[in-house]
Symmetry: C2
Subunit: 311 residues, 2 copies
Amino acid sequence: MSGKKVLVTGGAGFLGSHLCEGLLAAGAEVRVLDTFSSGRKDNLNGCPGRLEIITGDISGEEDVGRAARDVDVIIHAAFPMPVRERSMETKHIGAALAGLFNLLKEAAAREALFIYFSSIAVYGDQQYIPIDEEHPCEPATLYGAVKLAGEHFCRTLAKIPGLRYVILRIADIYGPRNSRVSTPVKFLLQAIRKENIVVHGSGRQSRTYTYVGDLVDAVLKAVVNPAAPGRVFNIAGDEAVSIYELALAARKAAGNEVDVVFAPGEPADDRKLVICGSRAKKLLGFQPRIKLAEGLSSTCRWLRDNPSYYG
Amino acid sequence: MSGKKVLVTGGAGFLGSHLCEGLLAAGAEVRVLDTFSSGRKDNLNGCPGRLEIITGDISGEEDVGRAARDVDVIIHAAFPMPVRERSMETKHIGAALAGLFNLLKEAAAREALFIYFSSIAVYGDQQYIPIDEEHPCEPATLYGAVKLAGEHFCRTLAKIPGLRYVILRIADIYGPRNSRVSTPVKFLLQAIRKENIVVHGSGRQSRTYTYVGDLVDAVLKAVVNPAAPGRVFNIAGDEAVSIYELALAARKAAGNEVDVVFAPGEPADDRKLVICGSRAKKLLGFQPRIKLAEGLSSTCRWLRDNPSYYG
């Protein structure tokens, strides 16, 4: 990565700040574009070395032009949906796709590699397992539909000479600095505070939690691998666990003997979710290394070290 | 259609105004929502009967809420891309998708049937002919990508109970009140003015021009047919013609012996385009009836009767 200049949008957010750390450690020059509406300056405290920070909005063509100057790579980790809101509003949809378009135009103009974070939410209900990248895309949530729309924007604009993109369909990412509404963090906080861990619904809903450090590893591999451009990759933890199993694991990581209790929740798909990661393994040499117990322990340590992080 | 209350977004535009005429003639009550930025009041002069007009923007939740009050059907003919511009800008993308989202939410809340105009541009390069609705969607233009994104929004939000939608993938629509940059109108105007008809590129690019009256017929059928909701239909003329053939047909319709001349143009796909309309025929009983010569004659008559339409 040495000598590469990388723009990370949303660089002060959860995902973005871990990417900045990883990129700097790998020798890249890093520039952050963030509105700081949900991103926070203190997320960047752990960054080794020099980081350029631009306060601005991906929806603004001027901000994007300034942020993308001279970059070799654009990693698009911004997503204009406030972390506290669990559903998308009209303004987020317009901003997400207009912002993506601005970034893609800049990437094409500068022949910068574009890394797009899509989501396994693009698949919708699983029609077979394991879900590989050829699985039909029929998103069941608006979030998934917006992420899928973004994939089409990447593919379509790649017909412009100069644009090279990589699409990473990521699963539930967790780790230090994660939003407090993410389930692993919520359960850990309950266990640390010796409250009951509250599982909504049957607890059988299956997820493939992915430790943020593994995601950073996948991104670094995608940036330098000549086989990556033009391709889509699933990036997900290889252990599917139920929400109930997650609650037990979080309790174990925190080391407090709290109760796991059930509360009413929306009916959900209780089938086991399995994401196929073999394309990323084969072409990028990527495989998740952090087991759930280890990732939860590390997140728990961070939560204990930063008791006032969530205010 | 009698007794049905229908909202037509972009109702003062080319497509919208023809829909209003057809809906009113079929006995529906019609309300128009239009910004009048490219739509025009005089497009609605030919409307038989009463028409309610709301000046407003699909991007505004309040405007949409007001316009959708008590409607049974929402026909979404607005598309926020100025007719003079041939490419999409950031602001159009945000507005198109945010506006669509507002309308879908209202349709779901009111259990109104939603008619979405997609485009055959969602298919991209033809991988086989005739192109049926199962053809892969790999748009080659941003317009196609935005239209495809809209389809995903319809499908995803239809997982909310109450939302029923029909997707119509339409081909090049032409007819009276069409934009002057549409190729049939451009050629007819050149022929009427006894200028040369200028064909850009090889002239072999293939299109399936669809007369606007046929499209209105398809929409009316889709609105009342219980087999339509949840489905996608190609709606296209069944004669594929080359641009050169179109030029000859326009000259014939105008009855002026002008020359057809060639000018440089972008390299284009010269293969014959064939759109399969058999699903619409089978399930909706729809088939295009207006042959190209007839549609061009009718458009030519209108152009001669309205010499100052384009200012």
